[in-house]
């Protein structure tokens, strides 16, 4: 069975690709559950777009829209989509995914400044974000990989900055990670549904379900990731075209 980590692994490799392009290493893949296949992907494009709103999730939404054609069709598919994103969606993206009616979100590390799935606000559950139902947001999948990519990014931009702020920002920490307060994002019963009864000690202790880092995902450049994702997404388009013809 394909699990959360397989999908998140694709998102992590895509984030690594974004890092190599000089963008913030945040990336997502949209998985269409009935097919078990990626149907859209996105990375941050705030530099390219000249806006502060071209986040990975919006790039994926645009990508999907150009594949399926209409907004109405997007709404129809949304419930069956799980979004795998390396960093918790910000409030804007969390609200957008909610208004779109997305089925579920799985993320790596928390977005301490702007997180909209529990860190700052709960846009996935609160009433004000609209008519399209709530969604569950599962944190902590490949969290350390996501954090490492962000650390690479900050160390790099700090090296380039004319006035480095302080020593700790120049030093790359590969061993210590903040605790994960699961309760901010999931009820204990939801945690058990996602990870199983045997993992509940992590819920109570605020520890990672997986402590071992898959360094090859973080460290190896992945120029082939775009091709791979494109190949996967095209399978969805073919599948859909066949169905339309029948």
């Amino acid at each position: 069975m394909v699990g959360h980590c397989d999908w998140m692994g694709l998102a992590v490799r895509l984030a690594r690709y974004a890092l190599d392009q000089g963008e913030t290493p945040v990336a997502c893949v949209f998985v269409y559950e009935p097919m078990g296949e990626v149907i859209a992907y996105g990375t941050n494009d705030t530099n390219g777009s000249l806006t502060g709103i071209a986040h990975a999730e919006f790039m994926a939404i645009n990508h999907l829209q150009s594949a399926v054609g209409t907004g109405a069709e997007m709404l129809r598919l949304a419930r069956s989509i799980t979004v795998y994103v390396t960093v918790e969606p910000c409030i804007m993206c969390a609200s957008a995914l909610r208004q779109l009616g997305i089925g579920k979100v799985v993320f790596g590390c928390a977005n301490e400044r702007f997180g909209g799935n529990g860190t700052v606000l709960h846009c996935n559950k609160d009433a004000s974000a609209g008519l399209n139902g709530t969604y569950r947001s599962v944190p902590g999948i490949m969290r350390r990989e996501a954090i490492m990519l962000l650390r690479y990014f900050y160390v790099r931009s700090n090296e380039r900055s004319p006035k480095p702020r302080n020593k700790s920002e120049r030093h790359l920490d590969k061993t210590s990670f903040p605790l994960l307060n699961w309760g901010r994002y999931l009820e204990e019963s939801e945690f058990v549904e996602e990870f199983g009864e045997e993992q509940t000690n992590h819920y109570a202790n605020h520890t990672d379900v997986a402590e071992k880092i898959n360094w090859s995902l973080v460290d190896e450049g992945c120029d082939d990731i775009i091709n791979e994702l494109e190949r996967r997404c095209s399978r969805f388009v073919e599948h859909r075209n066949k169905r339309v013809k029948q």
Partner: protein, 328 residues
């Protein structure tokens, strides 16, 4: 700084209303509770207080981005020796102990107990009673009036210009409704450097091909970016736009309906300066304290970004009402 009495605008400081028509939107719920920040403190001998005051004046006051005029810098330490505890600077200005120590080299006086454990209110208290209460709870404060009075007094408003923009978006909203737009929300983005050419956007979600996320504010932000790219491409030298990651930096935004969480956050990401809306959205709005889930996105303490928000409460503009469950 204009004295309150000399401000040509009519401001009701109690109700926070400017010229009887612009209501300042604040988070009334968190006014009674101070937002606390850590500061660096040291202890010194009372006899060194003059040296210390000179040191703070010359090395800290102009440099520290966090203003601490609302607190008393110095308090007495209980005990037999005449010791004083002093707020040195914010933890933002000196990020670690080493930074503090290097700041203090050659300061000319002895100090001890360098610490960042003390919490102080980030801003002055809104009433004298609260100032006394907070002084006892946290750190001695000065009472120099409600800090919000000063904030309101320092805002600038061109009421005629504001009226003109609101009239413009209202009439477009009415036209859109006539054309069959089921969500006639309209926004105008005004660049402070080019106020004569606002960028106006309308909600696109009822168009068949468009998305439920095509709210007027999202469309407007993208239009501003396109507009800038176009202007840049027409210029031979690329002097503007070299630092244009946040393209709506300091823009004023006029919108017919109180924005939803997606759009409010998009305004924060875009670094706008001010948003004025006309119709509150009681279920889906995210600016008024009594709208939706009470997010108060523009003055939410856990979101470090701030922008000014006002609601037009004069009854001269009536953009089309939209269904209360919809996000504007």
């Amino acid at each position: 700084m204009v004295k309150k009495a000399l401000n040509p605008l009519k401001i009701d400081f109690k109700k926070c209303i400017v010229e009887d028509c612009l209501l300042q939107i604040r988070n009334e719920k968190n006014l009674e509770e101070p937002e606390l920040i850590n500061v660096w403190t040291i202890q010194i001998n009372a006899k060194d207080s003059k040296l210390l005051i000179d040191f703070i004046r010359s090395k800290i006051l102009d440099e520290d981005g966090i203003f601490l005029n609302h607190i008393k810098r110095i308090r007495k330490v209980e005990g037999p020796k005449k010791m004083l505890e002093v707020v040195l600077c914010s933890t933002e200005f000196a990020q670690d102990e080493a930074a503090c120590m290097s700041l203090l080299t050659n300061c000319g006086f002895n100090y001890q107990n360098l610490s960042c454990e003390n919490l102080i209110p980030k801003q002055g208290a809104p009433t004298k009673e609260l100032a006394i209460e907070w002084s006892e709870l946290y750190w001695p404060l000065n009472w120099c009036g409600n800090p919000n009075d000063q904030i309101l007094n320092e805002y600038t408003f061109d009421i005629d210009f504001i009226r003109e923009k609101l009239a413009q978006i209202t009439s477009i909203s009415q036209e859109e409704a006539k054309k069959g737009n089921k969500v006639p929300v309209v926004t105008a983005f005004v660049n402070p450097c080019d106020a004569e050419h606002p960028i106006v956007s309308t909600d696109q979600r009822s168009e068949v091909n468009d998305l439920v996320l095509d709210h007027s504010i999202m469309i407007g932000i993208r239009k501003v970016a396109e507009d800038t790219k176009l202007k840049e491409s027409q210029l031979t030298d690329s002097t503007i736009g070299t630092d244009s990651t946040y393209l709506c930096l300091n823009f004023d935004v006029y919108t017919t309906h109180e924005p939803c969480s997606m759009c409010s956050m998009a305004l924060i990401h875009s670094r706008v300066k001010r948003c004025i809306f006309i119709r509150p959205m009681s279920k889906t709005g995210t600016l008024r304290a009594d709208s939706g889930d009470g997010y108060c996105m523009h003055c939410n303490n856990s979101l470090n970004s701030k922008f000014e928000v006002f609601q037009w409460i004069g009854n001269d503009f009536a953009p089309i009402e939209i269904e209360s469950n919809l996000c504007a």
